[in-house]
């Protein structure tokens, strides 16, 4: 019973007014917390950890690369959830939050790709390799672009929310498909190549690879990036709600003559 009442209480924030009231209260604290964890994690990582014996100081790219890569996929997942909420329960805040999250996810994907290239150059001797993980991130980036372009192209807000939500659902299925297809495709090309192992270094299985010296600041950076995302989405969703309101008010003014 308590869980269900708690969950019901969560739906309260689907009311734009309540949502704005909440975010206005917590946003200043969130900004400060984000700044502290992000700066703390990055400073700790960049200046207070030793260089790797093999990779030298390039290992420190991990503090930006891994959190952004982690966010790139989880933002899409969050958009999927909010799209479902919009399609099922028709809460405007949900649709607007998905819209607000998309550019953040796009930038995170781009950061992951760029830092990966900067890291890959000294480590693998190449800026780009058609490694499965790299490729699937590039495909994810294209999905983000399409999603945002569709939002921009449609004038009516509710229609845009409906269409982008369906696109997000269908896109999710195809993104997962592409991910596995890409794994299949590359193994077909590079039988037993070393790229896959090298990909593991840049990738998500950090716990086996990274020693604790690097792991603790990395965790802090992950937290910082996560907080940054939450803060930005709250902020941007608030902006979207206000923009909607202004539009509605102006339409009412015009109607009144």
């Amino acid at each position: 019973m308590t869980i269900s009442t708690r969950l019901n209480a969560l739906w309260e924030y689907a009311n734009p007014r309540k949502f704005l009231a909440l975010t206005e209260r917590v946003l200043p604290a969130l900004w400060v917390l984000t700044a502290v964890t992000l700066v703390g994690g990055l400073v700790w990582g960049f200046f207070f950890t030793p260089d790797d014996y093999k990779q030298g100081s390039t290992v420190k790219i991990i503090y930006i690369h891994v959190p952004s890569a982690f966010l790139a996929t989880s933002v899409w997942f969050m958009m999927l959830v909010t799209s479902l909420v919009w399609l099922i329960r028709r809460h405007h805040v949900s649709a607007l939050a998905a819209r607000a999250a998309a550019p953040v996810g796009t930038v995170m994907t781009l950061i992951a790709l760029i830092t990966g290239a900067i890291w890959g150059q000294p480590m693998w001797g190449t800026w780009w390799e058609w490694d499965p993980r790299l490729t699937s991130f590039l495909v994810l980036f294209l999905f983000y672009l399409g999603y945002m372009a569709l939002w921009e192209a449609i004038e009516d807000g509710d229609t845009a929310a409906d269409l982008t939500s369906v696109l997000c659902l269908v896109g999710s299925v195809f993104a997962v498909l592409s991910r596995y297809a890409v794994y299949f495709w590359n193994q077909g090309l590079h039988q037993g190549a070393s790229v896959l192992r090298a990909g593991a270094v840049s990738g998500t299985d950090t716990e086996e690879k990274v020693s604790n010296v690097y792991a603790y600041p990395l965790l802090l950076c992950l937290l910082g990036f996560g907080l940054l995302f939450v803060t930005l989405v709250f902020y941007r969703t608030g902006t979207e709600i206000r923009a909607r309101r202004i539009k509605a008010l102006m339409a009412r003014e015009r109607a009144n003559g």
Partner: protein, 218 residues
């Protein structure tokens, strides 16, 4: 349903329907490839399966914006939406008509263009098989994209941006079948995956297409 299919086919075959445009595009792309990469036959035969698949995919893409837009403009879609026929069947028939007028001719033309690109002999069969299995998925996915963008003034470019990422898995497995076939390797796994993607797309995507079409028609 049959009547709708017949109507779409007749419209496509008559002048102005754009039938053959995709085919001509496919031909031109294939002819331009040797100009851009050079005439070495070894190089051409190694890239031939991929080039033919990409050409077929782009030719499919080219004809997508006519798929629903014409019916949208003259109001046919509104009538179809209020007709007793479910919208899911309508979009399925639209996809089928698109495949019959675009996908099937591409499949039939591909071996001829394969000769131009010096495709290795064992590759012909698998090229045709993979295109035959893969192009229906391209049509169905394309119909979804067309339904998404049907109400937009300048939907053409956006349509490409939306549909191309959705084509990735089909392209990967389809081209893989053709490539492995040309190299004389085992093709069963990618072939099954390709067939699976096509079957799932045909089974599920019409519902998504009909849903977005309803939103656009509202």
């Amino acid at each position: 349903m049959i009547a709708l299919l017949k109507r779409d086919l007749v419209l496509a075959f008559r002048a102005g329907g754009g039938f053959g445009l995709g085919l001509a595009f496919f031909l031109i792309v294939t002819v331009l490839v040797p100009f851009s990469v050079g005439p070495q036959s070894a190089l051409l035969s190694s890239i031939a399966p991929g080039v033919l698949w990409l050409g077929a995919l782009l030719a499919c893409l080219l004809s997508l914006d006519r798929l629903l837009a014409l019916d949208w403009e003259d109001g046919t879609l509104d009538l179809l939406a209020t007709a007793p026929l479910p919208l899911e069947s309508v979009v399925t028939m639209k996809a089928l008509a698109h495949w019959l007028t675009t996908g099937l001719p591409l499949v039939l033309a591909a071996p001829v263009l394969g000769v131009l690109l010096n495709l290795p002999a064992p590759g012909f069969v698998w090229l045709v098989v993979s295109l035959l299995l893969g192009t229906p998925a391209l049509s169905v996915v394309g119909t979804f994209g067309a339904a998404l963008t049907v109400g937009l003034k300048r939907g053409g470019l956006l349509l490409s941006l939306l549909v191309l990422p959705l084509y990735v898995p089909t392209l990967i497995f389809g081209a893989e079948v053709a490539r492995r076939g040309a190299a004389g390797m085992e093709v069963a796994t990618p072939l099954l995956m390709l067939a699976g993607i096509t079957a799932a797309a045909i089974a599920l995507l019409p519902f998504a297409s009909a849903a977005v079409l309803r939103v656009n028609l509202r």
